[in-house]
Symmetry: C2
Subunit: 346 residues, 2 copies
Amino acid sequence: MTIPAEMMALLLKGDGYATVPSGSVLEAMDPYVEFGRIGVPQPDEGQVLIKVSLASINPSDVMFIKGLYGQPRAKGRPAGFEGVGVVAAGNGPLAASLIGRRVAFATGTSNWGAWAEYAVADARGVIPLIDGVSDIDGAAMIVNPLTALAMFDIVREAGEKAFVLTAGASQLCKLMMGVAREEGFRPIAIVRRDDQESLLVESGAAHVLNASAADFKSRLKAVFGAEKPRIFLDAVTGPLASTVFHTMGKGARWIIYGRLDPADTVIREPGQFIFQDKKIEGFWLTQWMRSADPASRAARVLEAQQRFADGRWKTDVTATVPLDAAVSRVADELAKPNGKVFITPG
Amino acid sequence: MTIPAEMMALLLKGDGYATVPSGSVLEAMDPYVEFGRIGVPQPDEGQVLIKVSLASINPSDVMFIKGLYGQPRAKGRPAGFEGVGVVAAGNGPLAASLIGRRVAFATGTSNWGAWAEYAVADARGVIPLIDGVSDIDGAAMIVNPLTALAMFDIVREAGEKAFVLTAGASQLCKLMMGVAREEGFRPIAIVRRDDQESLLVESGAAHVLNASAADFKSRLKAVFGAEKPRIFLDAVTGPLASTVFHTMGKGARWIIYGRLDPADTVIREPGQFIFQDKKIEGFWLTQWMRSADPASRAARVLEAQQRFADGRWKTDVTATVPLDAAVSRVADELAKPNGKVFITPG
């Protein structure tokens, strides 16, 4: 495979973090990235260079390009956390052994993102794909499906059958709830609108609670009183998550993996840490990929692929947008519900 | 020992929790407790009845009688979390085996407090005293000294030499810093005034940072950058603790054991849980007494007694106030610095 000296990519316009917080909706791509030319990177030790076939757009990408994600932006570098492609070069023995393989990848902290003709990823974090997995499924396999399986391991180990999810209508939550129901667990999904309730019950939710409803707090108390959930997997933080954690009983663990709400997160009653043995911690897939027990990591990676290959999971597609049209089209496509938007450099 | 039917005690005037938050200073006893007569309680299964010789007053007692502690008040019951006395009766084999023993005790969740002629405690939580330990030291042995030793175990297990303390001038922190220095650890004590700095350095502090100073935030950054503390033992919560936790680096653990500041506790950057592996948890001695590994619990109990018996630790006394004079005198005595106030029923 001949690697060109230069490539086209969607390059970050901002640097570091945003100084003014804003919401999780992408009003337009133009303030944050531009379509431009850049040199093809050299992978560092332990990294692979991937010729990108297809890249996905996740909520974390939107937060990142806006400067609201917990990693600083590097101005002028390509954005995009996830994609599928073929390994074109590798630095180091593991990386070199992957050359020519079709892989799902997450760019992690490489600063060379997937919204480009070539991307850089940690060789330990790429997933060589089995044949039954399509490029569409591969390009959206890590950030949502693998996070869903990895976080569900936390629920499984904690033992209680009931657990709580915010952003309950997200793709990630729907994937997790399906797995949970298969194993007899009882997800309590918290959403902000009523219109997806039946869809979520179909996806595996035991309860769907609408945070915008007038009786939300009383329903929360009633459901938590009956189900006694201890694990709270939270993608939003802010006042809603504070209320959920405050309402949970003894031994509750608030596990934060996203922060879609930029509003203040207040600990309503710090005494609950002392007298009710409550805890707050975080989950980051990049960290899990580095530090999880290799056997359980391999099992989850295989499970994700099998679920796509045998049709138990499938990726709903809203649009596949060419790289050179992304700046003008992506915001409108993301505004449509219930599917993912992809970017293709070809 | 003949047990009378009735006794005198300082009885709680409030019930449950305060509806209006207030500070940790006791402006007067009168709004919260009254001197009165009540029936001597019967110990439940696993509990002992103790004839109180001396009871202590801790910051947690003040928070409790004001309705600001994480346990609800039971109106008309005696207050007081800690004391020394002789076991007069016991319900169950362990409790009965303690009859006649001089013990340090904490009343925990019994609702029959130490500011009384008789108190009730969990038999597993009382400490039979060795001869060299005075009543004064015994009456103040659990809430501060044992908490100091138990929490220092967390620091020791975490490995890093530097750790952070708020309410750095408290009796508890001074005890802990002394132990820490003996083992080569480096306490970073955060206080609100400058006047105790030399006293704290003498007690074992490697750094003393005054949160009221204009350069507090820059000193915090500089000291944390050099010392890289990971454990934060916090008695205050509120804005100061939020700033401390926010400034700490990767893997920081905020362990809350008191909440002297009733102001809102805001998580400044929830993304730190995700990307920096930070955590919040709590410490409660009552829970530690129930659940700690018995061998390490016994070791810490013995260590506390030996430190008092051989003079390495001693209890500074501001005043010993008779039970019938407590309502009028205690608030004034508590306002004096650097010593403890005791209540004696005899």
